[in-house]
């Protein structure tokens, strides 16, 4: 791999800051969101990745908004959700 950038390599690869492992990329309603896990079932939107400019006007996807995840019970036998 060759980097062609104005930043020196030591700036790019110096790992001075602690690694934040609690971020993940999810697809919600057809848009890609980078979210941070706040606690067990709560996520905070960090970044919206979309090429559709209208998605950025949608207040549901604004950075800082919270997404709540609910556990879903699902039977493997008959496909019913509880």
């Amino acid at each position: 791999m060759i980097l062609y950038t104005i930043y020196p390599e030591e700036v790019i690869f110096s790992d001075t800051e602690p690694k934040s492992n609690n971020q993940m990329t999810l697809n919600i309603q057809g848009v890609t969101l980078v979210v941070e896990v706040e606690n067990q079932n709560q996520l905070k939107i960090i970044r919206l990745i979309s090429s559709n400019p209208q998605d950025f006007l949608d207040e549901r996807f604004q950075p800082g908004e919270q997404v709540v995840m609910k556990p879903l019970l699902r039977s493997k036998n008959n496909g019913l959700s509880y």
């Binding site: 791999m1 062609y4 090429s51 559709n52 207040e59």
Partner: protein
């Protein structure tokens, strides 16, 4: 039904499309007014910011644009019937050569009208992306640093390494020359000139100079870019109508 038969499992709700409305109701609002319903946009926009990340994931403190995010978006834009044009906004310090060239090739081979807009800075591997579109704009205050590809890491054979680096350099130069009005001689002259950058060889090309050298097509910001893109869209539409008649 016994518990074994039921085999209940816990799944994250967002993974199921049928449950998506439910989750959206649960996205907590921060007391903002609901934005008015927008018509579907016929122009999509890509922002290429920070480092262009390729085969190697960069440490988390780097702000990056990842090619695995951009490339599927470009495919979707090419395929969509609603999307008629693409605006690419660049403010990048460069990054991975192969990822940058891949994005640039994707933009240049897109069959829909494309306009790039350089704001802030667009350096190194950002330059091929900036020239990849049908028409490129730069704002007066933006700068583009043209410098040679640098070598880092272990060198085993000096002539072989030099040759490899030269080839890498040529890939970039050829793409830029092919997609802009700059000549190869002028581009190389800017790349290897001394005294412009304090500790390096190369040139910092600012706004109007980029247009003067033929690297960028015109000076302008967001408004001009959208006017140009709409102009290209209607031209393209007219052209495709003619083809149908034939």
């Amino acid at each position: 039904m016994s518990d074994e038969e039921l085999e209940k499992e816990i799944e994250v709700e967002v993974n199921h499309p049928s449950e998506q409305n439910e989750i959206l109701n649960q996205i907590q609002k921060l007391g903002q007014m609901k934005a008015p319903e927008q018509p579907v946009s016929n122009i999509h926009c890509l922002t290429i910011i920070g480092q262009i990340e390729g085969h190697l994931a960069l440490p988390p403190k780097n702000k990056t644009t990842k090619y695995e995010h951009l490339i599927p978006q470009l495919v979707a834009i090419e395929q969509s019937k609603q999307i008629e044009g693409l605006l690419v906004i660049l403010n990048t310090v460069g990054g991975d050569v192969e990822a940058g060239l891949a994005i640039a090739e994707m933009i240049s081979t897109l069959s829909k009208p494309t306009v790039t807009l350089v704001m802030g800075g667009c350096h190194s591997i950002g330059i091929p992306i900036a020239v990849a579109s049908n028409y490129s704009f730069i704002v007066e205050s933006a700068s583009m640093i043209i410098h040679p590809v640098r070598l880092t890491g272990m060198v085993i054979g000096v002539p072989q390494t030099f040759e490899y680096l030269e080839k890498m350099q040529d890939r970039i130069t050829n793409f830029v020359v092919k997609n802009s009005k700059i000549t190869e001689e002028r581009f190389k002259e800017l790349m290897y000139s001394r005294g412009n950058l304090t500790r390096d060889i190369g040139t910092n090309v600012i706004g109007e100079d980029a247009v003067k050298y033929g690297l960028i097509d015109g000076i302008g910001g967001l408004g001009k870019s959208l006017i140009k893109l709409n102009e290209l869209i209607s031209f393209y539409k007219g052209k495709s109508d003619e083809q149908v008649v034939q």
